[in-house]
C-alpha cells in the first residue's frame, strides 16, 4: 500500500509541497499540517458547514474532500480572506456589525459561503441568501442576523464597486 503521496496545495495564494497519505481529508490537512485552524472541525459529515473552504472560488465541505484531490486548485480558507484584503473583508465586517457572530464556530464557514455566493450573485434577494446558506448550522443566532449580514455585505460591496 502506498502511503505518502506528494501533493502540492495552493492555499491562500501560497504553495505548500506536502507528502501526505491519500486518506486524509482536506480539513485534516489544513488544520493539522498547515495549522489553518480557522477551518472548523464539527460534524465531519457534511452537514454543519463549519469546515467550509473555497475551492477555485466555490464553497465545499473540506471534511468530505480528499486533500489529494485538491491538488492544482486554489484553496481559500478564512485566514486568506482577511489577508488578501489587507483588512476585514466587507462580509466579515458585516458579520461583526450586525451581530451575526455569537460563539463564532459557524462563522468562518458562513463567511466563506457568503463570499462564494456574493461573488456570483452580487445583488441577491433574501430568499437567495437563505438558499445559499442552508448548508450551515448555527445554533446561536437563529440565522436572522446572518441574513442581515449577508444582505448588508452585498450592499457594501455594490457601493464600493459602483463607479464614482
Amino acid at each position: 500500500m502506498k502511503h505518502l503521496s506528494p501533493v502540492s496545495l495552493k492555499v491562500n495564494g501560497e504553495l505548500y509541497e506536502l507528502s501526505i497519505p491519500p486518506w486524509r481529508t482536506l480539513l485534516e490537512v489544513l488544520r493539522e499540517d498547515l495549522s489553518l485552524t480557522g477551518t472548523k472541525r464539527s460534524c465531519q459529515e457534511g452537514q454543519c458547514g463549519a469546515c467550509t473552504v473555497l475551492l477555485d472560488g466555490r464553497a465545499i465541505y473540506s471534511c468530505l474532500f480528499l486533500a489529494v484531490e485538491a491538488e492544482g486548485k486554489e484553496i481559500l480558507t478564512i485566514e486568506g480572506l482577511a489577508r488578501s484584503a489587507g483588512a476585514l473583508d466587507p462580509i466579515q465586517k458585516a458579520f461583526v456589525e450586525t451581530g451575526a457572530v455569537q460563539c463564532g464556530f459557524c462563522t468562518p464557514g458562513l463567511v466563506l459561503a457568503a463570499k462564494s455566493f456574493l461573488d456570483e450573485n452580487p445583488a441577491p434577494s433574501e430568499e437567495e441568501v437563505r438558499r445559499a446558506t442552508v448548508g450551515h448550522l448555527c445554533r446561536c443566532t437563529g440565522y436572522f442576523q446572518i441574513f442581515e449580514a449577508v444582505l448588508a455585505a452585498a450592499r457594501e460591496r455594490a457601493g464600493k464597486s459602483a463607479p464614482a
Binding site: 500500500m1 502506498k2 502511503h3 503521496s5 497519505p21 491519500p22 486518506w23 486524509r24 481529508t25 485534516e28 465531519q44 459529515e45 457534511g46 452537514q47 458547514g49 467550509t52 475551492l55 466555490r58 464553497a59 465545499i60 465541505y61 471534511c63 468530505l64 474532500f65 480528499l66 489529494v68 484531490e69 459561503a113 462564494s116 455566493f117 438558499r131 445559499a132 442552508v134 448548508g135 450551515h136
Partner: protein
C-alpha cells in the same frame, strides 16, 4: 457499534482518461471503489460501512464531466456535478425539472462536488436523480476494458446499494432521449425540514399530452424511497394513458402507485406515512407535469 472515525487506509489512483480508469478498475478488481464526488462514499468509509483497499478517483477524468446535445437527445457525463446540472441552460431548455431536482439536493457545498454518476451508482433508495431520469427513459453507458454497453436506467438498480454494473464496469454517461412534443416532468419530494434533508419519499412524473384527443397521451411515474430500489409504477402509468386529465384519474393513479410501492417502515418514517406521501406526491407531480404539458399543447409549444 460504529462511531465515526477517520478514513480507513486505501491506495489512491487518479486516472486521467476513461481507459485508464477502466484498466485501474480491472487490475484492482474486487477491492477498489470508484470515487466520484465522494460526498456519500467518504461518509460510508468514515462509518466503516465500506473499507475499500483502493480508491479510484475520477475527478481528473475530464471527459466524464460534460453536458452535450447529441442525436436523439442529451448526454450527461457521470462526473457532472449537481451544480453544473442545476445551472445548465441546455438541460433547462430540454428538461427543466432535472435542474430543479439538482437544485433541491443538499446545499451549494454538496452540489459543487456531488455528481450525477455518484448519485446513480450508489443505488440508494433515497437518491433523488434515479426517479426523474427513469421517467425520461434514461440510458446508462457502462465501460470496461471489455468494451461498452448501454442499459436502461430502469434495469440498473438491482437491490439496495447494488447496481447491474459488473465489478469492472464504470458508469460513464447518462443518455436522455429527446423529449416527445407537449410533454413535461416534475419531481417532488418530501423531507421533514424544508431543505438539506434526506428524502422521506419522492415522486417523479412525466406526462405527454395528446394534443389531438386532449388526453393524457403517456405518463411515467417513478418513486424514490419507496422500495429497496428506485422503481417505476407501471400499473399507475397504464391507468393514466388515454385518460382525461381529471382529479379522479390522478386519484386512481396515486392509489395504484401506493399498491405497487414497497415502502419500508423504519425509525425515520412509518410505512403508513410514506404511503400517504406517495399518494399525495404522485397526484401533485402528475398535476404539475400534466398541467405544464397541456399548457404547452394548448400554446402549441412543443
Amino acid at each position: 457499534m460504529g462511531y465515526l472515525r477517520r478514513l480507513p487506509r486505501f491506495d489512491y489512483l487518479a486516472p486521467h482518461t476513461v481507459d485508464e480508469a477502466c484498466s485501474a478498475l480491472a487490475e484492482r478488481r474486487g477491492d477498489a471503489r470508484l470515487f466520484a464526488g465522494g460526498t456519500d462514499l467518504v461518509l460510508q468509509m468514515k462509518r466503516r460501512e465500506i473499507t475499500p483497499r483502493a480508491i479510484i478517483g475520477l475527478k481528473g477524468v475530464a471527459s466524464m464531466s460534460c453536458i452535450r446535445a447529441q442525436a436523439g437527445g442529451l448526454a450527461i457525463g457521470a462526473m457532472t456535478t449537481f451544480r453544473a446540472i442545476e445551472s445548465s441552460p441546455l438541460i433547462r431548455e430540454k428538461h427543466d425539472f432535472l435542474c430543479e431536482t439538482a437544485a433541491a439536493i443538499g446545499s451549494p457545498e454538496i452540489r459543487a462536488v456531488a455528481t450525477i454518476g455518484g448519485n446513480l451508482s450508489g443505488a440508494l433508495p433515497c437518491a433523488d436523480f434515479p426517479a426523474p431520469l427513469m421517467t425520461l427513459g434514461a440510458i446508462v453507458k457502462l465501460r470496461s476494458v471489455r468494451g461498452e454497453r448501454a442499459l436502461a436506467l430502469e434495469d440498473f438498480f438491482m437491490e439496495f446499494a447494488k447496481t447491474a454494473a459488473a465489478p469492472d464496469e464504470i458508469l460513464t454517461e447518462i443518455e436522455i432521449p429527446s423529449r416527445p412534443g407537449f410533454s413535461a416532468g416534475a419531481y417532488l419530494k418530501f423531507h421533514d425540514r424544508h431543505a438539506m434533508d434526506m428524502t422521506t419519499t419522492g415522486v417523479a412524473a412525466f406526462v405527454t399530452w395528446d394534443r389531438e384527443k386532449r388526453l393524457i397521451g403517456d405518463a411515467r411515474i417513478a418513486l424514490s424511497v419507496s422500495g429497496p430500489v428506485p422503481l417505476r409504477v407501471k400499473n399507475a402509468e397504464a391507468a393514466l394513458r388515454g385518460q382525461t386529465f381529471t382529479e379522479k384519474a390522478l386519484e386512481e393513479a396515486a392509489l395504484l402507485a401506493c399498491q405497487e410501492a414497497q415502502p419500508r417502515a423504519s425509525w425515520r418514517a412509518r410505512r403508513e406515512f410514506r404511503e400517504e406521501l406517495i399518494n399525495v406526491l404522485t397526484k401533485r407531480a402528475l398535476r404539475q407535469a400534466g398541467e405544464k404539458a397541456r399548457a404547452a399543447a394548448e400554446k402549441g409549444n412543443a
